[in-house]
Symmetry: C2
C-alpha cells in the first residue's frame, strides 16, 4: 500500500480501530463499558462488571476448562461467549486486541458442540478451548499487518500451520492481539491501535512484542495464547503481566504462516510459543501440537515429541541443581527483582532435594553485540521501508532499536558469516561455562582448558547445573518507551535455550527502596538505575525466568514444578 499524503496513515488506523470497535460491539452478551476514570491498576475491574458465570469460566485455567468441556459439563459456546465478552472488556481496559472474531468463533463453537452431541466425545484434546493469537500469526483472509500501517490490507493466504494444528485439536480462535511497530520492541505500541498498557499499572508497558497477548491474559480475557520471541517477545510481556510464557527451543513449533520483516534471517531463529495463565496450560499447548508430529508436514522441525516422562532424576538419586544468575554483570536488576530472587533462593536453600549454585554470567555483553548485529543485517532497511511507506511516524522504541542502536548496520554476507562464527564460538563457550559451574571442569577461559570442548567425564552428569534461575529483565514492567535493555531475555535467544517466565506471586511495592550508594557500572546500567523509583512501579508483578539447555524444554517445566512446590510459587 502506497499512500499519497502523509496524513492518510491516520485514516487507515482509524479504519482499523473502527473495525475493532465493531467486532467488540458485536459480542453478545454485550461487552460492558468500563468507567471513565480508571485506576492505574485495572485488574479488578472485570470482576465488578461481568456476570458471575462469565467470571467463573474466564478465571478458570486451561486444565480446569478442558475436562469440563470434554465431559459435556460446559459447552464450547458458553466458554467462547465468556471469553469473547471478557476479551472485549480487556481490550477496552488495556488496548490489547486488534479484533475479536465473534462470528467465526461462535460458528466454530457450535460445530464443536454439535459434534459433541452427535458423537458423545470431543474433537480433540483442546475441544472447545478458546485460544488468542498475536496478530502477525496469519489467519486466512484476515489482516496481517505486523504492526505496520503500510501493511494494513495484506491478508493471510491461509491459516498458519500452528493454527491448523491447534484447530485440529479442537480449539476456538476468537481474539487477535496487538504487537508493536516492527515487532522489535519489548513494548507494544504502534500507529494502528496505539499503546497497549499494563493492566496492573497503566503507566507501565505491557511489554512486547507479544504485549497484546500478555495483557489479555493478565486480565483473564484469555487463558492460553500464542506469542513469538526473537529477543524476549514472549517473556517480557508474560513477566510484565504476571502470566506464564515459554520461549521453546527453536524448530520445535512450526512458524510457517507468520508475517514480519527479517523473514529469511536465521542466524537468530525466531520462535512461536505459548503464554498461559497456568503452567499446565503451557504443557497442554506444547503437547497438543507435538503429539501431531508436525515435522511430518513441516520439515524445518525437529522430530522431538513432547516428553511426559520425568526428565529429572531427582527423586532419591540426586538433587535438582539450580544455578542462580541474579545479575548479568552488565546491568544490575532493580530492587524488586533482587527481592524476588532472594525470596525464592532462601526457600530453595532449605529444601533437601534442591541444591542452589551461584552461576556467574559469561560475557553477556558480547552476546548482545553479536545478536544485535545479526538482527538487522540489512541495516534495518526492511523496517525502514515498511514504516516510511505510509508516512506513519517512528514509534520511540522502533527508533531506538534501529536508529539509535550502534550495532545496526548493513552487513556484507562475509560479515554475517563472521558474526555467525562468533555466535557459534560464543555458544560453544557458554556450553563449556555451563558444564564448568560447580563441577570443577575447566571453563572456556580457564588455565588448562583445551581449544575445543573435551568429552565429559563419566560422573559429570551428576554435577552439572540443571536449570538457571534469573531475571526476565533489569526490572519489572518499565514506564512506556523505557524498555531498552534486552539482554536478560535475548541472551537465551542467541544460545537458543528454552526459557520459562513465571510469576512469583510478588508485586512491586514502595518498600523496595533505591540503593542510594549504588555506583552504576556503565551507561546502560546508569539508565536502568535512574529509571527506578519505588513509586513508579507499584503493583507491577515480579516475575522471573527459568532457563534450561537446548531442547530441554520439558526439563525446565518439570524443574519449575519442583521449585514452585519448594518455594510456594504459583502454578496459575
Amino acid at each position: 500500500m502506497v499512500l499519497r499524503k502523509a496524513e492518510e496513515w491516520r485514516e487507515v488506523a482509524q479504519k482499523m480501530q473502527t473495525h475493532r470497535a465493531e467486532t467488540i460491539a458485536a459480542v453478545e452478551p454485550a461487552v460492558p463499558e468500563p468507567p471513565k476514570d480508571l485506576p492505574l491498576n485495572v485488574t479488578h475491574i472485570p470482576a465488578k462488571l461481568l456476570p458471575k458465570e462469565t467470571i467463573s469460566i474466564t478465571e478458570s485455567t486451561t486444565e480446569q476448562l478442558l475436562p469440563r468441556l470434554a465431559g459435556g459439563e460446559l459447552t464450547a459456546l458458553e466458554v467462547t461467549k465468556a471469553f469473547l465478552q471478557r476479551a472485549g472488556l480487556a481490550s477496552r481496559l488495556a488496548n490489547c486486541c486488534t479484533e475479536l472474531l465473534p462470528a467465526e468463533a461462535l460458528e466454530r463453537a457450535k460445530f464443536l458442540d454439535d459434534h459433541f452431541s452427535e458423537n458423545g466425545k470431543p474433537v480433540g484434546p483442546l475441544h472447545g478451548l478458546p485460544i488468542s493469537v498475536k496478530e502477525h500469526v496469519g489467519m486466512k483472509g484476515l489482516d496481517l499487518n505486523a504492526g505496520f500501517v503500510s501493511w494494513v490490507g495484506r491478508t493471510g493466504p491461509d491459516d498458519a500451520i500452528i493454527l491448523k494444528l491447534l484447530w485440529k485439536a479442537g480449539c476456538v480462535f476468537y481474539a487477535r492481539t496487538t504487537e508493536p511497530q516492527t515487532l522489535m520492541h519489548l513494548e507494544t505500541s504502534n500507529n494502528i491501535y496505539g499503546v497497549t498498557t499494563n493492566p496492573y499499572n497503566a503507566n507501565l508497558t505491557s511489554g512486547g512484542s507479544s504485549g497484546g497477548e500478555a495483557a489479555l491474559l493478565g486480565l483473564r480475557g484469555s487463558c492460553l495464547g500464542i506469542g513469538s520471541d526473537i529477543g524476549g517477545s514472549i517473556r517480557s510481556p508474560a513477566a510484565n503481566n504476571g502470566v506464564f510464557g515459554l520461549r521453546p527451543t527453536a524448530w520445535r513449533l512450526p512458524v510457517a504462516g507468520w508475517a514480519g520483516t527479517q523473514l529469511g534471517e536465521e542466524q537468530v531463529v525466531p520462535v512461536i510459543g505459548p503464554l498461559s495463565t497456568s503452567i499446565e496450560g503451557i504443557k497442554i499447548f506444547m503437547k497438543a501440537i507435538l503429539d501431531q508430529a508436525p515435522h511430518k508436514i513441516d520439515s524445518s522441525l525437529i522430530p522431538l515429541p513432547w516428553k511426559t516422562d520425568p526428565q529429572l532424576n531427582t527423586r532419591g538419586k540426586r538433587k535438582l541443581r539450580v544455578g542462580v544468575l541474579s545479575d548479568d554483570g552488565v546491568v544490575m536488576p532493580h530492587p524488586p527483582i533482587v527481592r524476588g530472587i532472594n525470596t525464592i533462593v532462601e526457600k530453595l536453600k532449605s529444601h533437601p532435594q534442591i541444591e542452589v549454585i551461584d552461576f556467574p554470567p559469561y560475557k553477556h555483553e558480547d552476546a548482545w553485540r553479536i545478536i544485535a548485529s545479526l538482527y538487522f543485517g540489512d541495516g534495518g532497511a526492511e523496517e525502514k521501508a515498511a514504516i516510511d511507506a505510509s508516512g506513519e511516524p517512528w514509534r520511540p522504541m522502533s527508533h531506538w532499536i534501529i536508529k539509535e542502536n550502534p550495532y545496526v548496520k548493513a552487513l556484507s554476507v562475509a560479515e554475517v558469516w563472521d558474526l555467525t562464527i562468533e555466535r557459534e564460538a560464543y555458544k560453544a563457550a557458554y556450553a563449556r561455562h555451563w558444564n564448568s559451574v560447580g563441577t570443577g571442569l575447566p571453563g572456556p577461559d580457564d588455565n588448562g582448558a583445551s581449544f575445543f570442548a573435551d568429552p565429559l567425564p563419566q560422573d559429570a552428569e551428576e554435577k552439572i547445573v540443571d536449570v538457571l534461575l534469573c531475571p526476565v529483565g533489569p526490572g519489572c514492567a518499565p514506564p512506556h518507551n523505557c524498555a531498552r535493555y534486552w539482554s536478560y531475555t535475548s541472551q537465551w535467544n542467541i544460545l537458543d535455550y528454552p526459557a520459562l517466565v513465571f510469576p512469583t506471586g510478588l508485586q512491586c511495592s514502595e518498600e523496595d527502596k533505591v540503593d542510594k550508594d549504588y555506583q552504576p557500572r556503565n551507561k546502560d546500567d546508569k539508565y536502568n538505575y535512574e529509571l527506578y523509583d519505588p513509586k513508579t512501579y507499584v503493583d507491577a508483578p515480579i516475575s522471573l525466568q527459568l532457563v534450561g539447555r537446548r531442547y530441554e524444554d520439558e526439563k525446565v517445566i518439570e524443574a519449575y514444578e519442583m521449585i514452585a512446590a519448594a518455594a510456594d510459587l504459583p502454578l496459575q
Copy 2:
C-alpha cells in the same frame, strides 16, 4: 602465508609431498613399491604385494575387527600396522593420502594394547580400530590446509570435537586423506598433492570432495573413515569407489574444528559423516559418537540418540514403501545407472514385504538454483582470496564451480534472506510432495491444495513413502574434470535429508550401450549424454543412493538392510 613469487607455490607443494613420502617411508614393515606400469584398475594390486596377514586384517570390516580387538584376538598394534602398510600402498596407487601418522598411531596402539593387558578390557567400543580422516578435519598441531596452497602451514589448534569423541571410544588415527582445492568439487584435485585417481579406473575421478577417503577405502587401506558433505562430498566419492557413505541429517555429528572457506555460512549446512567398507561400519560410527551425547559439549547439536530399535513397522503390519526416483527430470542418468536401478527394482517388485512406488521429481532445477546461489553468497571471494594468495593455478573444477557458475554472485544480506525464504518454501513444497506420492493427498501444486500444509489424516502414515531409491549422480565416476552435475546429491543437502550411498555389486561394462535415439533435454543433459561411452567407464562401480526424511537416518539404514536382503545387495 603470502608468497612473493608465483612459482613459490610449487616449492610449498613439493615440501608437502616430500613430507608425505617420508611418512609413508617410515611405515614398518615397508610399504611395497607398486610396479611401474600400472593397469587402469589397481584394486587387485594390494593382494599381490602385501603379506597374507596384512591382507586378512585390512580386508576385514569394522564389525569383524572390533570383536577380535575387544577379545584380545588381535592387538591394536598389528591392526594399525596392517592398515598403515596398506594405506601407504593405496596412496602410491591412487594418490589418496596427505600423510600417514605412523609414530602417533603406533604410540596410540601401544597405549591401547597396554590398557587391554592391564585391565583385561577394551578402552571403548572402537578399541584399536584405525580410522582415516579427511585432511580438513583438524588434528592438533598438524597441517590444516583444506586444499589451498596458501593455507599450508596453518595447523589445527586442537583435535576436532568428532575426533576427540572417536578417540575416547578407543580408535587409532593413522592416515589423513586428500581433498580438492576449495573442497567444492565432486572430484579430488589440488595443487599440493595433485589428482586422486579412481582405483577401479585411473582415467576416472575418485569423486570428491572426500575422494581421498573413498579411494583409500576402495583399496581397503581403511575400513572406516571421516568425510564431509555440503553438496555430495561424501556420497559422490563413496559411489565412485564402491563403498558405503552416509550424509547424516545436519547437526547430528559435531563439526567444530574443521577448516574450510564459507565457515559461518549456514543456509546450506555442511555435515560430517562416515564412509565405510560395510553398512555395519556406518552404524558403528554413528552409534559410537551419539552414545556419548555430544550435544552436551556442543550445543549446536540436536539431542537425538542413535536409535537401535526398529524404525520400520514392516514386519507383518505393512510393507516397506520404496519410492523410485530414477531420473530427476533435468539430466538423464547414463545407461549403467539405469541398469542398476532396474536390476534392483525388478527384485524389489517381487518381494512380498516391499512396495515399489514411482516417485516423480519435484522441481530439482529450482533446488539447484537456490543451493548454488547460497553456497557462495560472497561471490566466491573467500575461495578467490585463498587460491590467489599463493599464485597457485585454479584447478578446472574450482574454476567451473565458482567462475563458470551462473549462480555465483556477491549477494546482499537481503538477497540471502530472500533465497532462504525460497529454500524454506521449496522444503515445504517437497515435504508435501513426498506426503502426496501414492497417498492421494494433494501435492503442493495440485488443485485443491491449501497454501500451507494441512495436518495429515489419521491413516496417512500407513501410505507415505518410507525411503527413496535414486542415482548418486548422472553417471558412474566420470573422467577427470567432468563432474559438473551435482543435483543428484545436492538435492538432499538443500532439503537436509539423510542419504546413504551403497555399492550395488555391479560395475560398468561395455554392454551398457549408448541410447542413440536419445534427444538431450537441455545443455546440462547434452553435456552428460555426450560424456557417455561404454569404453570410458569400464569397471567403474555402479552405486545408488537411498534417501530418507529429515532425521530418519536410522530408518534409511534399516530400509537398506531390508532392500539388500530382498535384492541381493552387498552389506560389505
